[in-house]
């Protein structure tokens, strides 16, 4: 078995979602059904949606050991990760099959990347 991270790629910053919006409700229902399917198949390791990028902090160590923190995401780009799954499946084709379902469920592109080792 191998572990993969499926990242949900957003191309626009998002803020609070309006859960009264029927389109959002439908999306939430689809993602929730996908989550259940992933868990029932035993492929789920962990997954979460992330708060908006504006909440991010980057912590880095300078060569002299000094730690600095910056407000905001690591990459200053419009594109960012809005959520992720860690899945445990036999191989790449299985991971890609889940990614297909995930992109249909959430409506965003999914990046598939293996855990090293």
């Amino acid at each position: 078995m191998a572990q993969y991270m499926l990242s949900v790629c957003h191309d626009q910053p998002y803020d609070e979602m309006d859960f009264n919006d029927p389109a959002i409700q439908e999306q939430v229902a689809k993602v929730s059904a996908f989550n259940q399917e992933l868990q029932a198949a035993g492929a789920w390791v962990f997954g979460a949606g992330l708060a908006p990028v504006s909440t991010a902090t980057v912590v880095r160590a300078a060569p002299n050991g000094e730690i600095s923190m910056t407000d905001g995401p690591f990459a200053e780009s419009k594109e960012h990760i809005g959520g992720f799954y860690i899945i445990d499946v036999p191989d790449l084709d299985a991971a890609l099959a889940w990614a297909r379902k995930a992109t249909v469920a959430c409506g965003y592109p999914i990046e598939v990347r293996p855990a090293d080792g």
């Binding site: 191989d91 991971a95 890609l96 090293d116």
Partner: protein, 415 residues
């Protein structure tokens, strides 16, 4: 003997590598072992003669080299495996081969080459990586040869292959023929890659030589292999037929000075009748099966051309009908463009131009053949100025010397 060795290598390298990858679970180790086996053969065969089953001999020799090497490196591997087991005994399968398994005789399973083809054409790889990997692992071409064929620097090509292999390894890409549900899509990727290799050999996108015979020959070999291994896939048969019928025209495609000769102007007596007969038989087999797909329809179009003793005798209305079918199966601008050419033959150049005008211009702005075709149709309706600027647009997009010469000739003929 040197030629014979090279011949055997070209024929057997893919088969050997495919089997060794299955046995060893590692592309690099398989490649190295096969290379070592060929080095042994190069030393032994000139003295002892070529063994009756060279492929089997090479596969066994490569397997033995791999076993030796794994034994030498066993201490390190054992440590590695032990470490993995310490972390997670249940989920982490040891991917390293067990020596005991290796000691069993390695049977060559025909499916191995199919597995390898599906691996090389994995949809997670970019098309140029799929092509490079297929030529390297299945075609037995070395990196400099592939780099030369595509006129990319050797370092770039080497890097492309290393990255592709690494991506497949780190991603745990499976070594198997895809299951029925995924098969149509995955097979299409394989067929597309083989056809890409063929067309690159047929009309090199860059450089001086209009054809790079070696690439086309390799693509046809892969096409035959696919048909042999997947005889029930009509699209595989369609692809082979398409390549054979196109290949049949090769002797008539290039003039003595190296310039390109259009289909309409070719000396049809130069066409290879043997290839045409084989292609026709395959197209007929596809028609009987009646599960049309894009490669089969393109093969049928090539068959209609091959049927015509002269360009004037071409059954263009049948070709328009086939393009309509192709457009329904796979709507895209290039198909629509080729359909417009056929429409021009049936209903005249003005009708052809009207069909071209229906194509989304942004999709074909950078596509040289679109401008060349448009220029020709404009010339035929007598709009010389517009034809000239369309030829200019085509010339600006041409990197192939033979095609450039052809287009310059057409432009000059406008007067």
């Amino acid at each position: 003997m040197v030629d014979e060795l090279a011949e055997v290598f070209r024929r057997e390298a893919g088969r050997c590598t495919a089997t060794l990858i299955r046995v060893l679970g590692d592309i690099d180790l398989a490649e190295d072992s096969v290379a070592e086996a060929f080095a042994i053969a190069a030393a032994k065969w000139p003295v002892d003669g070529v063994p009756p089953n060279p492929g089997g001999w090479l596969t066994t020799a490569a397997r033995n080299r791999a076993v030796d090497r794994l034994r030498r490196e066993a201490t390190r591997d054992d440590r590695h495996r032990a470490a993995l087991r310490l972390y997670d005994d249940d989920t982490m399968e040891p991917r390293d081969p067990e020596l005991a398994d290796l000691d069993a005789l390695v049977d060559v399973i025909p499916d191995d080459q199919l597995r390898l083809l599906f691996l090389c054409c994995h949809p997670s790889l970019a098309p140029d990586a799929q092509v490079a990997l297929t030529l390297r692992l299945l075609g037995g071409l070395d990196t400099p040869e592939i780099a030369r064929s595509f006129l990319v620097p050797e370092a770039t090509l080497a890097q492309r292959i290393v990255r592709a292999k690494r991506k497949l390894r780190d991603n745990h890409a499976p070594y198997r023929v895809p299951r029925a549900a995924e098969l149509p899509e995955r097979l299409h990727a394989v067929l597309t890659t083989v056809y890409l290799i063929y067309t690159e050999g047929h009309t090199a996108t860059t450089g001086d030589s209009l054809t790079r015979v070696e690439l086309s020959t390799e693509a046809i070999r892969l096409g035959r292999l696919l048909v042999e291994l997947m005889p029930d896939e009509p699209e595989a048969v369609g692809l082979l037929a398409l390549m054979l019928l196109t290949e049949a025209r090769r002797p008539a495609r290039t003039a003595a000075d190296g310039s390109m000769i259009r289909l309409a102007d070719q000396d049809r007596t130069l066409w290879d009748r043997g290839l045409i007969a084989e292609g026709h038989a395959l197209v007929r087999a596809c028609l009987r099966r009646n599960q049309p797909g894009p490669f089969q329809v393109q093969a049928a179009i090539a068959a209609v051309h091959a049927d015509a003793p002269t360009a004037e005798a071409t059954d263009w209305s049948q070709i328009v009908a086939l393009y309509d079918q192709l457009l329904a199966l796979r709507p895209n601008a290039v198909v629509a463009m080729n359909r417009a050419v056929a429409v021009a033959e049936v209903d005249g150049p003005a009708a052809g131009l009207a069909a071209l005008a229906e194509i989304d211009a942004t999709r074909v702005a950078d596509y040289q053949p679109f401008h060349a075709i448009r220029a020709d149709l404009l010339a035929r309706v007598g709009d010389t100025d517009a034809a000239r600027s369309a030829y200019d647009a085509a010339l600006a997009l041409t990197t192939n010397v033979a095609e450039r010469r052809f287009l310059e000739g057409r432009r000059a003929a406008l007067g």
